[in-house]
């Protein structure tokens, strides 16, 4: 799945650690989502959408 998380995080000026703290996950998880090694659960995807104030489908897109 294509992810825009890195781009959005950088727009918001957050580090991976800051985003991880906001999402209550590890930095490893944020990095894995950004590098598209791991697809987040629906729950985490909704958390990201709320945080970036964007619909899920603009953050994640199918390959």
């Amino acid at each position: 799945m294509k992810s825009r998380v890195r781009q959005l995080r950088e727009q918001f000026g957050w580090s991976q650690a800051e985003l991880a703290e906001r999402l209550d996950v590890s930095r490893q998880t944020v990095n894995a989502i950004e590098t598209e090694k791991y697809d987040p659960s629906i729950k985490l995807a909704f958390k990201l959408a709320r945080l970036f104030e964007l619909p899920i489908e603009t953050i994640f897109q199918e390959d």
Binding site: V25, S26, Q28, T29, A32, K37, Y38, L44
Partner: protein
């Protein structure tokens, strides 16, 4: 190291020390009373601290984030499969008289394969998703 993992390791220290003490005690001293059930309880007593560690492990799994939980679950699944495969392989080899193992060796090797499978798979998972 994230707080849940650190907490799990710290919580595990006392049960593991207790396990070491109990395993030594159960091998060095005979059961205090010569009754079958007392002997069995004495022999199985080191399982209690291991069950205590497993209890903390379940707590740790509940506190993990989803990627950490996936790494743990993958490691558990693969280690269970490697233990089953090792056990079956040894049984088949014994059935065909290609290997002469007693029960202790057979079970020991299967449990060893489970532990080794867990450690290796977990570290591969951590390496694969490293930040």
């Amino acid at each position: 190291m994230r707080a849940p993992l650190k907490r799990y390791y710290l919580r595990g220290i006392i049960p593991m020390l207790l396990y070491t003490a109990m395993i030594i005690a159960s091998h060095v001293w005979a059961a205090p009373v010569d009754l079958a059930w007392v002997k069995a309880a004495w022999a199985l007593s080191p399982l209690l601290p291991i069950a205590w560690v497993f209890h903390y492990y379940f707590k740790y799994l509940a506190e993990c984030d989803e990627l950490e939980r996936k790494i743990e679950m993958d490691a558990i699944a693969i280690s269970a499969m490697s233990g089953a495969l090792t056990g079956m392989a040894l049984l088949f080899l014994s059935d065909h008289a290609l290997l002469a193992l007693n029960q202790r060796e057979l079970i020991g090797l299967s449990v060893g394969a489970i532990c080794l499978g867990y450690v290796v798979t977990r570290y591969i998972g951590i390496w694969r998703f490293r930040a």
